[in-house]
Symmetry: D2
Subunit: 352 residues, 4 copies
């Protein structure tokens, strides 16, 4: 007998992660999207703000109302800016929904770290212990059991996945990690700004929020700390690259001992990610390209060793809107619902 | 009881249309890809030439052998260059397969027109009457009944769909049509060339094969002729635009009479495309954007009237690799197999 | 004996045309930029809003004050939005300056046409007869003699230059002209907007203001009318293409008689543009590419004949910010100052 | 009295660095380009292979002949691939010309290092001591005095300029430097290849030649060694970014002591580059963008301190074809000819 489809609502449906949730969920075999909410761009038909959906989805975008969500959905995705998310999540949990929050509000377990990096007291610190950081490759079982998933940031996903097996196996040292990551412009969201204006973004590249000022830094450190026991200090640099989607993260770490080879790293990573449908470990000598994962929920990881300098050069690519946001959220939802982790997420990247 | 999955082979699996066929067919619920063939880049694992498939498809790419195809597949897609396709198609038809040919070899029904535009005698003119031009919106029933579909070119698909309802309803005159269409660079195929070298393509735009020299011209004229009874002469200009995917075709035609409104055109087009899952007709005032259909098998059409000049400005957008090639081929395959026309093709475009 | 350098001011220095004026004028051998003005982004150092000038220009950006301009400059460029320009131009002319206005405010000679297309009464209709339309290839002598130049729009420049020799020689008919032109995104100016947000512009193409609604339509018609005596009605379609700079305009016109060849058109165009340093006429068979003129003040024009349809396909490419705006303004300034027309403007396009 | 113009020849005029040399030298006030040579694409008119020069330069491209060069030029630029350059340079020096070699053939002073990285014995090791590495900011006086300049690679220029003042002042330690640099695609040259085919480059990012395998690594180490006395080992990662021009290099180095501030670094860098017209040091807090230097011979450098990790994040941007190749060559030529170092190179970057 077929299981009834879960009813799903999206809060914050008009931004890019909301749009991507819709693209994925409208094709998902075991859920039905029943309601869309937003704070602005309310409209009788979602296709007026997301014309790619013309003829595919006729839901209205309505003002958020937790009681209404509770009547119409079993699961809710919150795709709101950080800060705005907390109250919404609280209200939905209080009404018994399962919640996947794509903001940063529940990612950092330590409310004081949140305050340091986000500049405000956390409005619901008592809820933090309950939230599970939604990186299935690291916290699969906890995700299955929780009602609240904090969906990871795009940079942390691409920047920690390649390091997880190396740190877990003691192949590299955690003390002096440098991470340099490029992101496509969709990571900046849908609101126009000078820094994302086409003529000042196309054909150019620039770093931003360098030298320990980007808010994904403590998130990366927390994930790495989950593996080795204590959060290391990393230097993280984001670069805005003139493309719409994609993150290419390169991580530099000192080898724990001489003689660690690429082959050993690849073998270790394949063991580590054996049960993970969303990670592909590349053969030695193959370097990942963001074009290979565009539109898909897959991460590709690869490794090289700089023997002259005693360093690994680990690399991860993802689509920032899929494995870096909405796809990873759906992956977590699958786990929460007891579905196969890869349900609705098995498509190859769109190449070219 | 479930129908057994059809077994599908792809001949010419290493180019962009082959890659796109794989992306679509690996997700298709009613077929199984059983064999891949090519003329070059033979490899024990397709992912060495299409790394986006790493971990998703482990088929080898083998040299083409019609008997082998016949043993392993019920349906074959030929994604070979024109000229190279004819012998392959003949061999497969002779062995009883259903064939979808993505080349231009069977699109033009008149062998003499083929010779004029392709510079060679057609090698199998006796087969031409059997071939059905695979535009489901125009030839749906014939496609259901045939064993050989000639999948339309990308420009003709985007350039004729908007005009079909207008010509069928006698709203515009066929005599003086001008069509100006932009294409993304993937339309030029996977072989590197000076004209598709990134530094000489990015940030630039140029026309090519203008003034009645592009081979899609007679194909467009044949399609329009299928509606109005005789092929008109059109002026067709293709422009290479610095994007990977997408065609935006704009068609200019004289109004058949004063007073034809955009509203009337939209209503007429909606009637015409009522049973067509792959065409969306935009509201008056909405102009299509190639970004709305990227990665999807959908065409979007829109209309405007230049009352000062007595002309319609009709517009169509598609993804040249999907509705302009591989997706349309799958759409035709669905019809040939008695499946729902939209099976495996209902996904929204990837936006942004 | 050397002539003293003319003192030049720029009003509206923070937008793209202002920035481009600065790039050109700072290198110009016979002028000195003495003052910069704007309505916003006032700053003690222009390089804070135009960082490319760091170390090259330390002028402040000051609030506009006509008396101040008159004290410090002999010539003023107004790079303000239409509507805002009129009062500024009036004030500067009243103080004896020579003025080059890059807005649309003085381009249309007929105030009623201005009202129709710009939705407001012209605030200084008495000034219109004095303004010279700054297309040097058409109005060279008038520009030399005037104090007020209305610098042409980008689309009209690229769209009329190729047609001028053909219409002047009676080679094509003016009645049924269709013009389809692509523009880079910098043509939309420096203010961020959804339609120019990188993720919704890169990798996409769309028409806008089609079917006789773009304000450059009457400007094109006026220029063509200057050649043939009466303004024709044209259908003009602009397309936004995912590149920063460049316009590619394609014009379709009926041949005036059978047998007009590309060779004859090229020969005629070379005669027509013989004294014009900023126009290059391409050999038959060569189709212009916007990449060939990027950063330069050159227009390249080319021709093809669609003999099947009895039409010319004429093409022009320019850099919209140079020959389509600031460079053309400097070209006019050269004429007004009695300098060589090409002074400071002879550089080749930046390729690639 | 005016000095006669130096006569300049370009060997290898059809590639991108050759094209850029032509763009710069045709505008240079104190030289005349008299002859162009290449190994292929010989043509009676350079504009057939570089259409941007149509109407601006009518020189033919001729087969290289050292005697012919000697008759027609005083200075020669060699823009040939490495390996091919040595014989050409030797022949020209033997005939008394001043030579600027843009290949890698004379950059590494140690022939054994050359062999290690380029896989072949150096064909003219005796010439190496005479060659001066053409980074004017480091070797200005030697460049003035030499007859043979080895023009630096693009990555080394962008990657070492920011570090020079810090290392010279002992502000950072040289032992553990990591350099991550993005390049536009024009750095790969003009020959089409799969890795530079538009559909597989646009909208994607990937590392290549990572972990101590890129040939610019020893060049970077040599330059840094020139400052501190011994070449350090660096980890250098190049990333191909989807843009045509521009290098953004980020360098990570440990602070030599606590408390070194960004302000101190900026002040030190401004002292160091005080006499250098081609380097702009950005204010603290300003991060360089490749868009600010496109088309110009300027490098912009900026600094940030990651106090948590005890590291500097130093950044440099250049246009890889100008300050990273042809412009730097012209800068060196100016020094060799006794001209002002910035002659013909003072233009601002083309923004946007």
């Amino acid at each position: 007998m077929e299981r009834p489809r879960a009813r799903v609502a999206i809060v914050g449906a008009t931004g890019y992660t909301g749009a991507e949730l819709l693209r994925l969920l409208l094709q998902h075999p075991s859920v039905t999207v029943t309601a869309l909410y937003a704070r602005e761009k309310l409209t009788p038909r979602v296709s007026t703000v997301l014309p790619a959906l013309t003829g595919l989805c006729d839901l209205p975008i309505e003002p958020f109302d937790a009681d209404d969500v509770a009547r119409r959905a079993d699961v809710a995705f919150c795709a709101l800016p950080h800060g705005a998310s907390i109250a919404c999540v609280e209200a939905l949990l209080a009404r018994g929904l399962r919640v996947l929050d794509l903001s940063a509000d529940f990612r950092l377990r330590d409310a004081s770290v949140y305050k340091t990096w986000y500049g405000a007291e956390h409005a619901a610190p008592a809820r933090l212990p309950e939230a599970v950081y939604g990186l299935p490759e690291l916290h699969r079982e906890k995700i299955r059991a929780t009602r609240l998933v904090a969906v990871p940031g795009c940079y942390p996903t691409a920047s920690t996945l390649p390091l997880l097996p190396l740190l877990a196996a003691g192949m590299v040292r955690p003390e002096r990690i440098v991470i340099h990551a490029l992101s496509g412009v969709s990571g900046a969201g849908r609101t126009p700004a000078p820094s994302t204006h086409f003529p000042e973004t196309g054909e150019g590249a620039r770093n931003y929020k360098v030298a320990g000022t980007h808010r994904h830094t403590p998130e990366i450190e927390q994930v790495l700390g989950d593996v080795i026991g204590a959060a290391p200090t990393v230097t993280f640099t984001p670069t805005l690259a003139p493309m719409t989607r994609g993150i290419l993260s390169t991580q530099y770490a000192d080898l724990a001992r001489e003689g660690v080879t690429v082959e050993a790293m690849v073998a270790e990573a394949r063991r580590y990610f054996a049960g993970s449908p969303s990670v592909a470990v590349l053969d030695p000598g193959v370097l990942p390209d963001t074009l290979w994962v565009r539109g898909s929920n897959r991460a590709m990881v690869g490794y090289a060793v700089d023997a002259r300098a005693g360093r690994v050069v680990a690399m991860g690519v993802i689509d920032n809107l899929v494995k870096g946001a909405s796809g990873q959220a759906v992956q977590c939802m699958n786990l929460m619902l007891g579905e196969d982790e890869g349900e609705g997420l098995r498509g190859a990247g769109m190449f070219p």
